[in-house]
Amino acid sequence: MTSVANPDTATSRAASPSASRSAAGFLGWLMSPERRGPLLIAPALITLFVVNIFPLMWSFGLSFFAYKANRLAPPVFIGLRNYSDVLTDSDIWERFQHTATIVVGSVALQLVVGFLLALLFAQEFPLRRYLLMLVLSPMMLSLSAVGVFFRLFYDPTLGFISRFISLFTPDTFVILSTPARATIAIVVVDAWMWSPFVMLLVLAGLVSVPKYLYEAAEIDRAGWWRRFRTITFPYIRSLLLLALLFRTIEAFKIFDIVYLVTEGGPGSSTETVSVYVFRLAFQFFRTSQASALGYIMLFAVIVLTSLYLYAIQTREVEA
């Protein structure tokens, strides 16, 4: 005969006071005010740790071993030899040079063009909204599409850029034929894609200048150059710096475009460090060396990111 009281609940009810007290205790401890911050942040940090930081630490450890991912041989500890190999490898320095050339060229071009674009779009004029969208369109393409299509555009027979330039040269102009030309080709693509980004930043600065500063300058009879130097430029200077740092960090990462447009060619003249690491790891399977090189890059990125954060905070203080 079934009794009214469920034996299970009876037992649990008997056990519950102390159990729930400790459960409530733990929950209380967890949710108490001091713990709230950490509680909220924990899942994010854990995820990042597991997916990003743990692998990074693992490969950091690995960089001290000799290991090739395509062989079954276990890693052999060799200390800093990977790093010294990497740092003395002239190939690597060549790649750093290429990367530096591309980064400097592209970022400089982006800053100048972006700045001029911002000046252009600072005032309202008919159709401004739509033209602005057109200028922002390059940023919306996927990098792989950009790479693929610009490869077409640079093609000597089929690409309109090559054909356009050929109008001015005696014979067919092959853009990707020489290192210099290939580098310029990549710089142009990158700058094309990202100068609108700089424009956005500078534009934000230009329109945030309080009107009354310009009025005061007008009353003080300052000329346009003076106004620009003392009022406008200081406002956008901090944004330009942020753009510079941000784009430099991003430019360091250039992989997709180089890989798809020139494949690092001709030869290896446009091969950036990113592409080289990729090759090291997945073509030559020198996994641990690739890790070491990766860590050197990481160090550079950390330095740049610190500068970037510092610049952001300075800007907020002065605002």
Binding site: P210, Y212, L213, E215, A216, A217, E218, I219, D220, R221, A222, G223, R226, T230, I231, P234, E318
Partner: protein, 368 residues
Amino acid sequence: MHEIRLEKVTKRFGNGLVAVDKADLDVGRGEVMCLLGPSGCGKTTMLRMIAGLEWATSGDIMIGNRRVNDLPPRERNVAMAFQFYALYPSLSVGENLAYPLHAEKLSKAEITQRVARVSQALDLTSILERRPHQLGEGEKQRVAVGRSIIRDPTCFLFDEPLSRLDIQLRQTMRTQIKEILSTLDKPTVIVTHDQIEALTMADRIAVMQAGRIEQIASPDELFSMPTNLFVGGFIGTPQMNLLEATLTEVGQRDSAGSVTARFALLGEIISASVNSRVGDFEPGSKVTLGIRPRSFEFVDIGTTDALHADVDITEPMGAETLAHLIEKGSDLRCVVQSSIRLAPGNRVAIRCKPGQLHVFDSSGILVR
């Protein structure tokens, strides 16, 4: 020949808003004119039109006998101190002060000299190297003023110069600015919403409301002879009592140009000696009587010709006390010496002191 003159100046904005409506104004050389009024009355717009930061829709703006309507600010040679100071954030205090001088092509020595002179007058010498974001409100304000007086302009324009300062600083700066202005002998226009500022600093005040100038007069005249209800109610703290009344009878004119009249208000009849023009009104006319809180005198209860009321709340103000009296639903503000003790619930009788009763007709204009 430095004066400012506005003739029938109107400013209409694109959306139809009339910010300034056919205003006439003139400011003499060395005179300090305050534009006073509540927010939105058009005073700042008027100032900006004199500066050239807004174009006048119609009318003439003359500075030093020259019509400047079509001239941009830089060609009017005016100096202006902005409400938010408008100090150049990337320049030091010294560079801010020197900024307007670069347009005059002075030698470096001359510039340094002038900066030194001004910074000394305004006590800025110790902070010449600092930048605006490192300054306190008072310091910023002095730099803004300094930047104006370092030049030799046709006139000075100040937009709410003291509004962002605390009471103490305000009092100090009021005196200081007044001293400086008196040495400069140029027409000055100051915009403010604070009447204490206007009453203490101005030679004459233009009271504005909704784009129109209500009255232009010296502080004394504004106080003792407000032309309409608005000015009467605006000038003077605590606010003037404005009571609706009916004229019951008018007596004979006497030699001094006054006439005795009787008014019915708050259920009682009082008589007072008022301006003879009141005699032009028919008995039974509706008028508004204006009595300032300090114009009352206390009399014994039961006196004829006096108003009776109950004490509602008293607010001690130090040497004086502000008493709120209430009668038949109407509020009366009365300021008395604190030695006279009044308690809530007391019944009192008050009378207006002779010659201090203002009579406004049914359209709000002072009868005189």
